[in-house]
């Protein structure tokens, strides 16, 4: 028999009551009906308030975290798909042609620059 079972078995144990002193103590039997209703409403309001503010408690909300993570993944996926600017097929082909021509011109320009340096063999004519 473990401790939990022991508690269950002694469920009828007489409730311990704190000692009372002073005029503030009212017995349950003496509470008015109105007071009872007010007390009940305040409990309901307190429960509602607790439920309302529960997401901002210090406890990590795993469901919220998972939803945020999924949202981030979706955002990243969309972001990846829109890298670059959409262009027409004809513009793409025109740019490709331009890349090739530029590369060839730049190689020629480099050769020109190199030719101006070093030994000028034409001077030997």
């Amino acid at each position: 028999m473990n401790n939990v079972s022991t508690v269950d078995l002694f469920d009828d144990w007489p409730t311990l009551k704190a000692p009372t002193s002073g005029p503030w103590r009212e017995s349950h039997e003496k509470q008015s009906e109105k007071a009872f209703k007010l007390s009940h409403m305040s409990k309901v309001a307190g429960l509602a308030l607790f439920l309302a503010v529960s997401p901002i408690t210090a406890m990590p909300d795993l469901w919220l975290m998972e939803r945020n993570r999924r949202d981030a993944v979706v955002t990243m996926s969309i972001y990846q798909e829109v890298i670059g600017r959409f262009i027409s097929r004809s513009e793409a082909l025109r740019v490709a042609r331009q890349i090739l021509v530029s590369a060839e011109q730049e190689r020629l320009q480099l050769a020109e620059w190199e030719a101006k340096r070093g030994i000028q063999w034409e001077e030997d004519k």
């Binding site: 020629l108 000028q120 063999w121 030997d124």
Partner: protein
Amino acid sequence: MIYVFPKQTDPIRQGDIFIGLPRIDLSLQKVLLVDEKGERIAKWEALAKECQPLNIIVPVRSVAAIVATQDCDAYRSRDITLCEIREFRDVERKSRNTTAAKSWKNILTQHARINQKWFYLPPSTQLDFSDKMAVDFLVTLRVPREDLENLRSLRRGRLNPIADEHFRERIGEFFRRYPYDEWYALDEQEMLEYEKEYPDAGRFPWQKVANESNSGTTK
């Protein structure tokens, strides 16, 4: 001249000359993406972190090229590297107006004295080289070896043993070069002359010291 013509069944070797291989040119500023959504243009900087393969449009030109990969690798590696062959006048611009044989002699034999970025290939009707040509070591192509073996019909010739030995050493020397500031050993007067042509050349500490000490002696 300096060429031999191997049988089509011969294996690919360094110095083999192909006519009609694809040279691809890329721009990292203008990457042309293509997928099912259409074509887009982007900078590679924005794509660099992309782990998935991308499909892009690249321009390609059919060019002449010579095998740079050494024989062992040309026999078994997945890819073969070649260098583009272009007209000599476009590779070595000092010769753009050269006509005299003496000037050509000086230009074409300078390899023995200076490390050039090209390798000379004389004209050849069998290779369809109607003018002087040059291997441009700066422009490389990479093609799959097996594909190239299946395209040996495009191989028009090969360097003969003398030229092949020279080519092997030249390409080795080219890629063995290291960058250095050529003015580092010039004295004060030489440096002044150098700076007239290259004003951006920054002096080394010992050249500044020489300058100051020279200034001191002239006082």
